[in-house]
Amino acid sequence: MRIERNTPPEWEDEEVTRVLRDVYASPAPNASYWETLEACIMARIATAGEAPEWYGVFHGWVRVGLAAAVLAAVLTGGALLRERERQERLAYEAVMESASVIPVAGPTIARGPSRSRDATLRSIISP
C-alpha cells in the first residue's frame, strides 16, 4: 500500500534546493584543484599571447617599411586615377571642339535641286 504524504510546497522547495546544491557542489574544499585551474588559465593566456597576429611576425622596421609601401601604393593609385580622369577630360574636350567646325548638311544646301524635283513631280501628277 502506497502512503501519500501531503507536504507543503516550502518543504518541497527546500528539498529541491538541497539536492540541487548537492548536484552542483563546486570543488571548493579542494585547494589543489584551484591551483591547477589557475595554472591552466594562465598557461592558456600565455599560449594565446605567444600566438602572433598576422602582422606580428614582422620586426619593427619591417612593419614601418610595409606601412610606407602601403602608403606609397595608395598615393600612386590616387595619382594614376587623377591622371586618367585628366586624360579623359582632355579627350572629351578635343572631340567637342572638333564637332563644332564640321559643316552641317542642312536644308539650305539641298534647297535648289529639291525645287526642280518638286516641279517635275507636279507636272507628272497633274491631270
Partner: protein
C-alpha cells in the same frame, strides 16, 4: 608616527586591474585567484558538466584578458568577468546542445558528491533538470545554489528581472514535481 590605513579589498582589486592592464601577468594571476571560484560557480550553473564549466572559466578569463584594456577599472571587475564567463558558458551550451540525461548522470558521479544521498532522488532531479531549457536551469542554480538575486541573474544572463523570476518559478515547479513523485514512491 602616521600609519596609512590598510587598503580595502576593492582598492587592492583596483590596483591589480590597473597593473594587469599595464601588462603585469602576475597581477592578472592574482585576479584569477580572487575570482575563479565564483566564475566556476557561474559557469557550472549554465553548462551540464564539470568539464564544460572548466572550459567556460578558462575561455572567460582568456576573453577578459584580451578585453582588459577596454575595462574601466572603477567598475566591479567580478561582475564584468562573470558576465564574460556566463557568455562563454552559454556559447559552449549552444555549441554542444547536450540534452541527454545520461550526460547529467555522469556529472553526478564526480568526487564532490555526498555518497549517502538517495540515488533515486538525484536521478529524478537530474532527469527533470535536463527537461529545462538552459536559461531556466541557469536561473534556478544561480538563485538556489549560488544565492544570486533575480536582478543580478538578469544582468548576468542578459535577461529582464521579470523573466528571471518567471524562469525560476517554472523551473522550481518542474523540479518539485519530479521530487514529489519520488517521495510518494519511496
Amino acid at each position: 608616527m602616521l600609519t596609512l590605513p590598510e587598503p580595502s579589498a576593492r582598492e587592492r582589486e583596483h590596483a591589480l586591474v590597473v597593473a594587469a592592464q599595464r601588462g603585469d601577468t602576475e597581477s592578472f594571476a592574482a585576479l584569477v585567484r580572487l575570482h575563479q571560484r565564483r566564475a566556476y560557480a557561474v559557469a557550472r550553473a549554465i553548462v551540464l558538466t564539470h568539464e564544460d564549466a572548466e572550459d567556460a572559466v578558462q575561455e572567460g578569463f582568456l576573453h577578459a584578458f584580451r578585453a582588459l584594456d577596454r575595462f574601466l577599472p572603477d567598475q566591479a571587475f567580478g561582475a564584468w568577468l562573470n558576465r564574460i564567463v556566463a557568455n562563454a558558458a552559454l556559447d559552449i551550451t549552444r555549441r554542444k546542445k547536450v540534452r541527454d540525461a545520461d550526460a547529467l548522470a555522469d556529472t553526478i558521479a564526480s568526487p564532490f558528491r555526498d555518497p549517502a544521498e538517495s540515488a533515486e532522488l538525484r536521478r529524478r532531479l537530474t532527469g527533470a533538470l535536463s527537461t529545462l531549457n538552459e536559461r531556466q536551469r541557469a536561473v534556478i542554480v544561480l538563485h538556489d545554489v549560488e544565492g544570486y538575486k533575480h536582478a543580478e541573474i538578469g544582468r548576468l544572463l542578459g535577461i529582464p528581472e521579470g523573466t528571471a523570476r518567471s524562469d525560476l518559478h517554472h523551473a522550481r515547479a518542474r523540479l518539485r514535481q519530479a521530487l514529489s513523485g519520488v517521495r510518494s514512491e519511496l
